[in-house]
């Protein structure tokens, strides 16, 4: 087992290298660079750019050098925590992202938790009470959740949150705490605002998970070993948890791999609508303005999360399912 984990971690290294090459290629693809679009923007506004200064900046950041060397610079810097410089914000990338990253992680983490807490009981209920009124009702709600676009839900919720609870519209905290250092009051304000994005981002995920859990559990409930458990005289609920539910968890665990990046990148539109201080809007802005180090670091971060998520789900699957652990490739 230890061997396997070490091997999997070792395999991550070439994977990440390949991804970094891809990311670099993608952010290099559009013609020009940040300075060109900056100059164009200035000119459009009728101002004159100081070409000398821009040339100096170009040289300083190695934009005159060939692409492979810039790539090596970038990757080498990332290895010791230097993610480059954001031209847009005129700050090192790590400073720009810093606070936003933690807020993003907070929003995502709470969203995942809420998704699970809501989806599990509903999924189990729907499967064990198949074709009952409860199942139909919850299925209907779930399909609504899947079908309504996030941004519409965001607008609706914002409106009602303001009318009913007096929560200020937009942002993850009250206006006065923006760009303030962390304090108790700020933390409370964040918690007060948190539920809106969590509900919005989580709805579709919850609905999807309910449907999948229901389908998987229904499959397992037909199996013979469930009848065996009943024939043992087991309490039906305990039998359900120990046998079919456990079996149907495999899909859920392999989901972890994709759930992390999905929630962080999938929340962009919601984040823009709600003007949240998360990484989503920043990534889109950075891609638009060719702020290459910022965009590149973001993409790398997402890729890293994907790779980690897959690693975690693979290891968890091997722990949970002896067939994977002991049989290896040959499965019946």
């Amino acid at each position: 087992m230890l061997r396997y984990i070490l091997w999997r971690i070792a395999v991550m290294v070439p994977t990440m290298l390949l991804i970094s090459m891809l990311v670099f290629t993608i952010i290099e693809l559009p013609p020009g660079d940040y300075f060109e679009s900056y100059v164009a923007e200035l000119r459009a506004m009728g101002e004159e750019a100081d070409m000398e200064e821009i040339e100096a900046l170009r040289e300083r950041y190695g934009f005159d050098q060939p692409a492979p060397i810039r790539y090596l610079h970038w990757v080498g810097g990332m290895l010791h925590g230097d993610f480059g410089y954001s031209f847009e914000y005129q700050l090192p990338v790590s400073d720009v992202v810093g606070d936003r990253l933690w807020l993003t992680v907070l929003v995502s983490f709470v969203t995942i938790l809420v998704t699970w807490i809501i989806a599990f009981p509903i999924g189990i209920y729907s499967a064990t009470h198949q074709y009952s009124w409860g199942d139909y009702g919850l299925t209907f709600l779930g399909l609504l959740g899947l079908a309504v676009p996030n941004f519409i839900l965001a607008l609706i919720l914002m409106y009602f949150a303001n009318i009913w609870f007096g929560t200020s519209i937009g942002h993850l905290m009250d206006q006065q705490y923006l760009n303030e250092p962390m304090s108790w009051a700020k933390a409370r304000s964040i918690l007060e605002h948190l539920w809106i994005p969590v509900i919005i981002i989580g709805t579709a995920g919850t609905a999807g998970m309910v449907r999948r859990l229901r389908a998987n559990l229904l499959d397992e409930l037909q199996k013979q070993y469930v009848v065996t458990a009943r024939a043992k005289g087991m309490n039906p609920f305990r039998a359900l948890v120990k046998y079919p539910l456990r079996m149907s968890l495999n899909f859920f665990i392999s989901d972890i791999g994709s759930i992390l990046p999905q929630i962080i990148s999938g929340a962009e539109i919601t984040a823009i609508v709600l003007s949240l201080e998360t990484t989503g809007p920043m990534l889109i802005k950075a891609l638009q303005s060719q702020d290459m180090y910022l965009a590149g670091s973001f993409l790398m971060f997402l890729a890293f999360l994907t790779v980690i998520g897959v690693l975690v789900s693979d290891i968890a699957l091997a722990f949970l399912d002896p067939r994977i652990r002991l049989q290896g490739g040959s499965t019946k």
Binding site: Q224, Y225, T228, A231, G233, A318, R323, L326
Partner: protein, 630 residues
């Protein structure tokens, strides 16, 4: 009937399933009883309601089913009588009976245990539910039980997962699970149907031994009259949800009263059939092959070489990747087929018998060019000269495909559910570009007549036919191209006894009328005995014995053939299985064979010895022929 003496008495039990647009009555006012300490067999074909009755006894019916009547369980431990149907669904009262007073084992040992939990966990869990015991006591009791059901190393088995065990061992674990609380009644729902015949005999012996040792009653649900004759004390015959006949096993077998039971008994092939004797199918299919006769007349005018197909020394190994992620990869190739040679003569039926995993299906796939052997040769002796099956390409291969056709085991999955019968039957003709659309339709109609189905059914889909009818369609599909060799891979294994006889008779008639040659693969010796002219016995990838039918059945030489024959349960009270000779050892393990048939350490390999009259047996190359004779 003396009431009070019965352990279980079922009175006027009716079970119906709520379906879309009405309900289906699966059981209609059934009455039966189980005496304490005796084995009662509930016999019936699939869909007769026998499994549903067994489920209702433990109240584990599916939700859509509803039961009425009375199921009286008289617990000898307390002396009280409970009506199981009056207990609340999944309430504490019924749960105290399930697993503790009534145990149950199922047909499919692979799926009846959870793959994620160890054997020990699943068996000892029954004790956790029902008995107030410490962890150590539970462990002791589980180990003891596992040893009783035949695990040589119960401590090891305790920690194993079901998928690490063979089918027979899994069923033993299941028996341990059902019996660990010493129930008064064991319900065994087709406990041996999914097992090989030698394993079946072992499991039957184990069940019988434990039943006597624990002095418990057993309700054995089966469709196999051979099993009934060997194990049961009382028999209940059920047909379409109604009890046809019930009584002691002697009465039932010696004086069957009901026509259904008589018909069932006449439909089972047995070893004492005279040459040319025909099975009496419950519903016979009239064969009308006159439309296809043109082909066979042409063949008779110009008979080809005597040997139609010769297989020489074919070998196929599979690499098993045992490594997975966690172990060092050790690639030990497994020889699925190991130096197999045989001839199929024109117009004969060669039976190929063996237990699951012996390689018989791999051989059939090689003949079809679906699997390429590692070495060896297969030659098809066509009228126009021999064709190397393994080398044929292009046009030659296409022609060859028309000459060799296959009938599959499962009539449900071998026909596409999205094609009408007409599409299914004419597709081979289209692929081989035979005839015009009009002439194809004529051929297809003729084929339907051959298998005794009305041509009006041509536009129907397979799901609207019964299992036997579907298998007939499968046979018609195989016949469409006018093949010379038909490979039948377990064609009746998935069918009920009464339908089985029908299909076997159909195949026999077709062979006679159309001059076909069969390779008939089966695990059922009685079926092969009925069909085949010569029989080859396969074990662990080798043909261990090949002889004309009468010789193989009368005087088998090889120890594996003998144990195979000894393990077949006869539906005849005068020929009980000799349980004492059935060792728990694995009959297909070479180490259990007597010396002349084993590979020895001196490097004397195994070779085929000719005993005369076409009787070949695999033995040590330096063994004397006289030594081999019993």
């Amino acid at each position: 009937m003396i009431s009070g003496a019965d352990l279980l008495r079922i009175e006027d039990l009716s079970i119906s399933f709520a379906m879309l647009g009405g309900q289906i009555d699966a059981v209609k006012k059934a009455n039966l009883r189980v005496l304490p300490g005796r084995v009662t067999a509930l016999v019936g074909e699939s869909g007769s309601g026998k499994s549903v009755i067994s489920q209702s006894i433990m109240r584990i019916l599916p939700k859509v089913a509803s039961a009425s009547g009375r199921i009286l369980f008289n617990d000898p431990l307390t002396g009280t009588e409970t009506d199981i149907l009056r207990l609340s669904q999944d309430g504490p009262d019924i749960r105290a009976i399930r697993g503790r007073r009534i145990g149950k084992i199922f047909q499919e040992p692979m799926t009846s245990l959870s793959p994620l939990h160890t054997i020990g966990d699943q068996v000892s869990e029954v004790l956790t539910i029902h008995e107030d015991m410490s962890r150590d006591e539970r462990y002791e009791r589980t180990i003891e039980m596992l040893r009783m059901v035949g695990f040589a190393k119960p401590e090891r088995a305790f920690r194993m997962y079901p998928f690490e065990l063979s089918g027979g061992m899994r069923q033993r674990a299941m028996i341990a699970l059902a019996l660990i609380c010493r129930p008064a009644l064991l319900i065994a729902d087709e406990p041996t149907t999914a097992l090989d015949v030698t394993i079946q005999a072992q499991i039957l012996r184990l069940l019988k031994d434990l039943q006597q040792e624990f002095n418990m009653a057993m309700l054995l649900i089966t469709h196999d009259l051979g099993v009934v004759a060997n194990v049961a004390d009382e028999v209940v015959v059920i047909y379409h949800g109604e009890v046809m006949e019930a009584g002691p096993v002697e009465d039932i077998f010696r004086r069957p009263g009901h026509p259904y039971l008589k018909g069932l008994m006449a439909a089972v092939p047995h070893f004492d059939m005279k040459p040319g004797e025909r099975l009496k199918a419950l519903r016979e299919v009239p064969v009308n092959a006159s439309h296809l006769l043109g082909v066979s007349e042409e063949r008779q005018k110009e008979p080809g070489p005597d040997i139609l197909l010769s297989v020489r020394d074919v070998t196929k190994s599979y690499k098993i990747r045992k490594s997975g992620f966690f172990r060092r990869p050790d690639e030990a190739p497994v020889r699925a087929v190991d130096g197999v040679s045989f001839d199929i003569r024109r117009g004969e039926c060669l039976g190929l018998v063996g237990e699951s995993g012996c390689g018989k299906t791999t051989v059939s796939k090689m003949l079809m060019r679906a699997v390429t052997p590692d070495s060896g040769s297969i030659v098809f002796h066509d009228r126009n000269g021999p064709v190397d099956v393994l080398e044929a390409e292009g046009d030659q291969l296409q022609k060859l495909r028309g000459k060799i056709q296959m009938v599959f085991q499962d009539p449900v999955s071998s026909l596409s559910p999205r094609m009408t019968v007409q599409n299914i039957l004419s597709e081979p003709l289209e692929i081989h570009k035979r005839g015009t659309p009009k002439s194809r339709l004529e051929t297809v109609s003729a084929l339907m007549e051959v298998i005794g189905l009305n041509r009006r059914y041509l536009n129907r889909y397979p799901h609207s036919f019964s299992g036997g009818q579907r298998q007939r369609i499968g046979i018609a599909r195989a016949l469409a191209l006018g093949p010379e060799l038909l490979i039948c891979d377990e064609p009746v294994s998935a069918l009920d006894v009464s339908v089985q006889a029908q299909i076997l008779n159909l195949l026999k008639d077709l062979q006679k009328d159309l001059g076909l040659t069969y390779l008939f693969i089966s695990h059922n010796l009685a079926v092969v005995d009925y069909m085949a002219d010569r029989i080859a016995v396969m074990c662990a990838g080798r043909i261990v014995e090949l002889a004309p039918r009468e010789i193989l059945m009368r005087a088998p030489v090889h120890p594996y053939t003998k144990s195979l024959l000894a393990a077949v349960p006869f539906p005849d009270l005068d020929r009980p299985l000799d349980f004492s000779t059935l060792k728990t050892a694995n009959a297909s393990d070479m180490r259990n064979w007597s010396a002349p048939f084993r590979q020895d350490d001196d490097g004397h390999g195994l070779a085929t010895a000719d005993l005369g009259e076409g009787h070949l047996v695999l033995a040590r190359s330096n063994a004397d022929v006289r030594e081999l004779r019993p």
